[in-house]
Every structure is written in C-alpha cells, then in structure tokens.
Symmetry: C2
Subunit: 387 residues, 2 copies
C-alpha cells in the first residue's frame, strides 16, 4: 500500500533538520539496486517554477528519461531562491548519487513548503547519508510522512493487475488547482516500460486525476509527479500501465481532496450537456472555484442560484431553458427556475462528507468533472499566516 509495494523499490524518511518541529522532512525513493530505470515526469506550468523543478527537468532531459532515485524534502519549497537555490538542488542530487553510486543526473529532486525562504544545504549534508542508510522495502510509509506539510494524513496508494504492481505517495493540502497537479507525487511500477510510453501514460493518468482536482484555484511553483518503472515484473501492455497509473494517481488525488486545508466537504462537480468537453471543464472550474458557492457548501446550503450565476458567467454556451442543476441526483432547478424536489433528501445530502453537484447545460454532448472542497473558517485560519 505504498510507493515500495512494487518489486524492487526501496524508500526511507528521516528528520534532516529543515522542519523546526523535528518531524520527518527528507524522503528518498530509489531502485533497490540503485540502477537507473525508465522515468517520466509532469511538472508545474507555473513560470515561477522552483529550483528542484528546473533541476529535475534538466536531469530527465540529460538522461533521456532514466532515473535511479527521487529525493524530496518538506518544510521549504526552494522556490524563489535564485542561483543559491539551484546550487542546493544540484548538490542534493550529487549527495544522493554519491550515496547510491549512480550519476547525479540519475537523481530527481522535489521540494515543498514555504516559498521565498533561502534553502540551507547543511540539512542535506547530514540528512542524505542518513536517508540513504535507511532505505528499505518497508520504507514507503516513512517517505510518505516525510513529504507532508499541512497535510494531516500521509497519502499512499497501490494497484495491481496481471502480476504488475504500481504504488505511489503524494502530498497536497492547498495551493491546489488543475493544470497541473499542484502537489508532489512519486509513483513506482515494476513493469518494463519504454520512457516515451511511460511519459504518455503518466500524462494521461495525471489528466484524469490530479488535473481534476482544485482546492483553491492556486497552481503552485513546485508541482511534480514522477514515475519510475523498473521492469522487475516483466513487460506490460501500455493499456495495463495506463490503468495502473490512473488508479494510483486517482486514489492519491482523492486522498488530497479529502485532506484539503480546513475542508469539511469533498465535492464532485459534474458538468454535462456542454457544447464540448473543454467548455464543460471551463464551467466546472468556474463553479468549483467560486468563493460564494464554496461557502454555501460549508453551510450545507444547496443555494443553486449561485451555481447558475457562475455557469452564466463562465463564458461557455448554455441553454437557460434546458439547464438543470442537481444535488445528489435530486434536480433542484430546471429551465433556470426552481422545481419541486425532495428538500429532506437534498438537506441530508448536503450534510454528508461528500457532495455531488451535477449541472446539465442542455446544449451538447460535452462533459467533465472536477473534485473540489468547501471554503471554511479553518481554511482562512490555516492561510492567514505564512504556511
């Protein structure tokens, strides 16, 4: 049930001294024999991308899609840290490479935490040897714990099909929006996969998992999803690889949504009847990122007028005479007016942990869904200060 569930992967998590709390803050995921394997990644589209994103992107390009390890820290995003931050990210890879006996370019690096704080190298000089020494097949849980920031629980997932296993870990919590993942995740798989196929499969998996998640509409500086495929379970069809990666990333995305900062609700926003899938996605995002709609969910209030208003201002085609809005399958508005419905059933649905909002725009075959959350006092508390 972790990033070390597939054959031939090891991991560890230690406290290197980046977090003042003394919690685990440095994670390492590696092939058990430290030999590089097929690797692929999807990175943030944020132009202000962090130093580790720049370094990992360069390393993957230099190796043509191979890596032996991923080193990750929490407590400091190493973003907006200039040349000094790049030097730290590069030296971190070099320290891991020295410990494992591979080339520095065969190590990928990720950071998460505060933006704009200079990243010290000292914790890595002592922490990397410790985390290398701790590598073991049972180390997945420690690694997943060591990448947590405001997460309240570690996120791990695994999936198996036809003798092939994929596993993964992730951190989330806030600064989360689609395009792309706005979080860190490492996925492993023991199938033999060509790097190009792996990249294609990962992108497809991300598109239906992390890219369907928006907590707050904010796309971070550090988003990275990395997959390593070591081939220890033999060759697998691309379809199998794709399904396993989608399953693992889908589970991790759902876990992130469930543990989003301050959230009391997980909301699945479904838009159907749009002119195109693209327009459905735009409409879903407009609703999912609406402060007013999110506050309603927190108050367990199905106030559909706000949903209609967001759809109307989303910039997509819709038929006001045919449009419908439903909570938990109960249609509350049709043709842009309220309709008779079971108020008790809707109230019960809004009171639960999971809400399903379905909007039919009434104009075409396009559809999309997104996972999101409510906007709560606790979210405000969490983000009033630097966190």
């Amino acid at each position: 049930m972790s990033v070390t569930s597939p054959l031939g992967f090891v991991a560890a998590g230690v406290h290197a001294g980046i977090k003042a709390s003394g919690d685990l803050d440095l994670a390492l995921v590696a092939t058990a024999d430290a030999v590089p394997v097929a690797a692929a990644a999807v990175f943030t589209q944020n132009l202000a991308c962090a130093a580790p994103v720049q370094v990992s992107r360069g390393h993957l390009a230099a190796t043509g899609g191979r890596a032996a390890a991923v080193v990750l820290n929490s407590g400091n995003a190493n973003a907006a840290t200039g040349e000094a931050g790049l030097a730290v990210a590069r030296e971190t890879c070099a320290l891991v490479a020295a410990g494992l006996g591979c080339a520095p370019e065969e190590v990928l690096v990720c950071s998460t935490g505060l933006i704009g704080i200079p990243m010290p190298i000292d914790p890595f000089r002592t922490g990397v040897p410790a985390v290398v020494a701790g590598l073991r097949p049972q180390g997945g849980a420690d690694a997943a714990t060591a990448i947590m920031t405001t997460d309240t629980v570690a996120k791990e997932a695994t999936a198996t099909s036809g003798g092939v296993t994929a596993g993964g870990m992730a951190k989330g919590a806030a600064m989360l929006a689609p395009d792309m993942a706005t979080m860190l995740a490492v996925v492993t798989i023991d199938a033999e996969v060509d790097p190009a196929v792996l990249q294609r499969s990962l992108q497809a998996a991300v598109d239906v998992s992390f890219n369907r998640l928006t907590v707050d509409g904010c796309t971070s500086t550090n988003d990275t999803v990395i997959v390593l495929a070591n081939g220890q379970a033999g060759a697998a069809e691309e379809a199998v690889v794709g399904r396993l990666l989608s399953e693992v990333t889908g589970s991790l995305a759902a876990q992130m949504c469930a543990d989003a900062e301050g959230a009391t609700k997980v909301v699945r926003v479904e838009v159907r009847g749009a002119a195109t899938d693209q327009e459905a996605a735009v409409a879903a995002r407009k609703v999912a990122q609406s402060q007013l709609v999110k506050c309603s969910w927190y108050g367990r209030d199905p106030y559909w007028g706000r949903v209609l208003s967001e759809l109307g201002s989303a910039g997509v085609r819709l038929d006001l005479g045919a449009l419908s809005i439903a909570y938990g399958g109960d249609v509350v508005s049709r043709g842009s007016v309220e309709v008779e419905h079971d108020h008790v059933a809707v109230t019960d649905h809004m009171a639960g942990r999971s809400i399903i909002l379905t909007c039919d725009l009434g104009v075409g075959p396009g559809s999309w869904w997104l996972l999101t959350n409510d906007l709560t006092h606790a979210y405000v508390d969490e983000n009033m200060g630097t966190s």
Copy 2:
C-alpha cells in the same frame, strides 16, 4: 451628495414589503417633471441575466436611449424566475409609468437580492404608488438606503464641474468582480448629452471604476449601471461629462470595496512592466482573486511567495530576473528572491485598512490596477447561508 444632487431629479425610498425585516426595499429615481431624458446603461455579461436586466435592455432599445425613471428593489433579485419574473418586471415598469404619466418603455427597472426566488407582484402594486407619492429632491438618501442588501452603509457620490453636476447611488457587498460591475448603480447628470455620447461616456467611466473592482471573482446576474442626463444645466463637453461620470462611479466603486462583505482590508493591486495593459489586467486579477493571497492580507502577512506564484501561473509574460513585488512602496522581492527591506514599515502598512501591492513584471510598458479585499472569517459567515 446623492443621486438627486443634479438639477431636476427626484427620488424616494419606501418599504414595499419585499424584505421581511421592514427595511426600505423599493427605490425610485426620476426626472422631476417625469419627462424622459437621455439615458444609457451597462449591464452584466452573465448569460443567466435577471428579468429586470432583460426588460431594461429592451426598453432602452425601444426608446433609442431615453428614460424618465429607474425603479429598483432590494430583497429579491428577480433572477432565475422565468416568465413569471419577466411579467413582474414589466408590470413594475407599467405601474411606475401610470404613476408618473410616462410610457412604460420610459421606465427602467433593477432588482437585487436572492436568486431563484419567485418575485411577488403585490409589493409593487402597493409600493409603487407610495414611492411615486414620496418623490422629492431630497429623496436621494432614502433611495440609496432602499437598494441595500448586505451593505452596511449606503453608497452615494456627487461631482461638479463648470456648472454641471453628476450624482449617483449604488449597492455592492459581494458577488462582485470586474466585467462588469456586479452591482446596481444609478447616476444622474444635469448636462445635456446625446444618448450615444452618454453611452460611450458611461462605458468609459465603468471601465475605470466598477470594472476595476473584484471582491470575490463572482459576476452577478443583475449588474446594472444606468445614467440619466436631463440637460437642465445646459450643454457640456464630452470630456466634462466623462470626467464627472468617472468621478462619481469611481467614488461609488471605492465605497463598495470599503464595505465588501466581511472585509477588513481594501487592497489596490497594481501591476506594471507587463507586455501589454491586457496582460497586466490578467495578472492583477489572478493575484486579486487568489484565495491564498487574500487570506494572507487578512492575517496582515506580506507573504510575497504566494503573489509570485500567482503571477507565475497567470499565463502572462514576465521576466523572473527583473520582477519586483512591493507593499506600500517597500520592495520586498526583486529578481524573484527576497531583498533587504524595512520590515517594520511593511508590517505597519499591512496593519492598516488600505494596502497597496505593486508588482512589476519587468518586460514592457503595460500596467493595470484593481481594487479588492481580504478573505475573512466574516465573509465565510456571511455566505455560508443563502444571502
């Protein structure tokens, strides 16, 4: 200091019975002699626009830009109310026209309040005669009070130049975002202005006032800004008309921002050094609508890393090596890293009621500014339930 400050306008506000609280809920602004004058309006771009928006748009088209009165109610937006809502809006205009002795098409109508609640006609049947009977040159304040919803103070403004006076009233508070105003406003001016010039002048004024305001990124179903020009102070140059309308709408927009739901801060987001003004506007909006950045402001925290992250994901051109971020004129980040700065001055600035955030993207001559607010516990409280 009100919508009746210009020569020849009267107004009134009464309780017609729409608000259960017994507060004033029906307002009327009219020419003193009930003769139609030049009129222009800017309406919401929301496709799910309310019945009064549809009716007012039709009336202005039918008269070629002339009106004798604007009738407005609070307590119910008459939005998402179908054919029945349209009938109520039309009958409201007819009732006012009968009372004043003008044509129904010469009356414009606005509503604000809850969306999706059937609008009763009875309050208008008794309220319209009462509000017509109450019309007087000193009635501006009552009218401004009668259009309030969650506003805590009435919004009024006036401006004078070369013997010409403009006055206005507005309501705001939430569901406020640029493009367009996301509120109701009536502006009067005693200059003689051709309807086409009036429309052009109003649009220009709205572009630099209401369209520079975003409280929560939500564009409502009912946004309407109407101007009536009765010519009683004689002809005026287009430049004078434009300046006066901009001054009045600018004041009203600032008052709205100051009274936004739950807000403790008024924040002016300035973006310079963008490739184009359009890109500066996109970047400013991305920052102004960021839940994370808004929460920082509430906590008086200048956390510039979140600002940088929003700029980086805004989809506009920027030079990370030249980019700077300043609070209250104190540069806290330059070249995407933190720089030495006066922490006491920045802390003092963040503690005040008004914050000025300046972002220089370092690539061109484009600039833009927006007014916005912080995201607070009180905003969540206000919007957890239907309001």
